[in-house]
């Protein structure tokens, strides 16, 4: 970030275009997969909607589109930036460890909770994909049919729902954190808010 005019110094850039695409690809795919998945899963919705083969296609094709979109993003997006972000998310310094024990410490661009959430989200994405592919392929080759596949896929869904509610609360409602939403839509956040919540990052910029 070079010299700033008075106008844009009110905001500080937090997320690149590639990072925001990564987030919204996941968000969009998650909602379509959740909706179609619940229709396949809940007997009351299955009976009300019917058209199971169609809903199954929607669910499966959305998963493929999600994977393809991620591949395209990695191919054409800012790969070096993603690698830098991954390193940031990976590293927990002593302030992060204290923060996790609820001791207020200055945080970087991501606080320690966000780092854990990112690790969890990435792991869940992979596990959703693996268990989903096993559900699909196990119908075709029973050597890939495991008793736990369904339980894993459903369990991930239940935990993700809880995480999603927390995520939406923090990003849309909670007064102290909802300013972060601007970072994921427009890319930048209020500088004063950032200084309070992500002090080390703002100081380093």
């Amino acid at each position: 970030m070079g010299a700033r005019t008075g106008l844009d110094s009110r905001y500080i850039r937090r997320f690149s275009r590639t990072e925001r695409w990564l987030h919204w690809i996941h968000a969009a795919a998650f909602f379509v997969l959740l909706g179609s998945g619940l229709i396949l899963y809940l007997p009351s919705l299955s009976a009300a909607v019917g058209r199971r083969p169609f809903v199954k296609d929607v669910h499966f094709d959305t998963a493929l589109a999600w994977g393809a979109a991620l591949a395209l993003l990695v191919l054409f997006g800012d790969r070096a930036g993603l690698r830098r972000t991954a390193r940031e998310l990976d590293a927990f310094d002593s302030d992060d460890l204290l923060w996790l024990r609820r001791i207020p410490r200055p945080q970087g661009r991501f606080n320690a909770g966000q780092k854990l959430n990112a690790a969890l989200t990435a792991a869940f994405a992979l596990l959703f994909a693996v268990s989903g592919l096993l559900l699909w392929y196990g119908e075709r080759d029973n050597r890939f049919r495991f008793a736990g596949t369904i339980v894993l896929h459903d369990g991930l869904m239940y935990i993700s729902l809880v995480l999603l509610v927390g995520h939406l609360y923090l990003s849309l409602i909670h007064p102290a954190t909802r300013h972060a939403l601007r970072g994921m839509t427009l890319g930048s956040v209020d500088r004063h808010w950032a200084l309070r919540h992500h002090e080390k990052w703002v100081r380093d910029e």
Partner: protein
């Protein structure tokens, strides 16, 4: 340079540790999740409203809409190699000798529901009026959910706990479970337990069922077919 490092501070790679830990737990759960689920979660789920938590059942259908049941117009036809083809309405079906049982239900995809309470008609009572011919060996069950069809041979249909069920867990069979009648044969995987049955045809040779045309075993014994046992 990343911005998280402060001088003299050696950051720990907990992000990847958390990621790998969750992935490893998740992948290993392919082996332990099902028994753990049965032990811990399923009793809990059974106490919750089934519309939000599908106490174990998954509803699989193959057609674009789920058949709906109208007691006034519904008929069950029994024909094929019989002395007298029979058409039963819902009331006549309920008047046949009633049988009850508690049995487990297993799906070939890996889920099970235990202790399901069924009420219905044994196949020999159902077929008695029609009178199958001496050369008959099998029954074809045609579902109102076209093109779903499956078969049992007469020996399988004669098992002590095989029935055409019209009640489940004390209620008339619900729409998603095959209202008004479905086949129940607990020894075999769910795909042999045809739902929304509207026609039973007595045949000389077993026909090939919907999933059997797609590679599944004709004799779908639980634990001894479709690649297990």
């Amino acid at each position: 340079m990343t911005s998280v490092d402060t001088p003299g501070d050696d950051p720990r790679r907990y992000g990847r540790a958390a990621f790998l830990g969750v992935v490893a737990t998740g992948l290993s759960s392919l082996l332990w999740a099902e028994p753990a689920w049965r032990l811990i979660a399923q009793p809990l789920m059974n106490a919750l409203p089934p519309s939000l938590f599908p106490n174990g059942w998954r509803i699989y259908t193959v057609a674009s809409s789920m058949p709906s049941f109208d007691p006034a117009t519904w008929r069950l036809r029994i024909d094929g190699l019989v002395d007298r083809p029979v058409t039963l309405n819902y009331g006549q079906l309920l008047n046949l000798p009633r049988a009850e049982q508690v049995s487990d239900f297993h799906c070939v995809t890996g889920w099970s529901v235990q202790h399901v309470h069924w009420a219905g008609v044994r196949f020999r009572d159902l077929l008695a009026a029609a009178g199958p011919h001496a050369g008959a060996t099998a029954l074809t069950f045609t579902s109102a959910e076209r093109p779903y069809v499956d078969t049992l041979d007469l020996k399988q249909a004669g098992l002590a706990d095989a029935m055409l069920a019209y009640e489940m867990d004390g209620l008339p069979l619900q729409r998603e479970h095959g209202a008004p009648v479905r086949v129940v044969i607990p020894e075999m995987y769910g795909y042999k337990n045809v739902k929304w049955v509207e026609r039973i045809t007595v045949t000389a040779t077993p026909e090939t069922g919907y999933w059997e045309q797609r590679g599944y075993d004709k004799d779908a014994w639980v634990g001894r077919s479709n690649g297990s046992g």
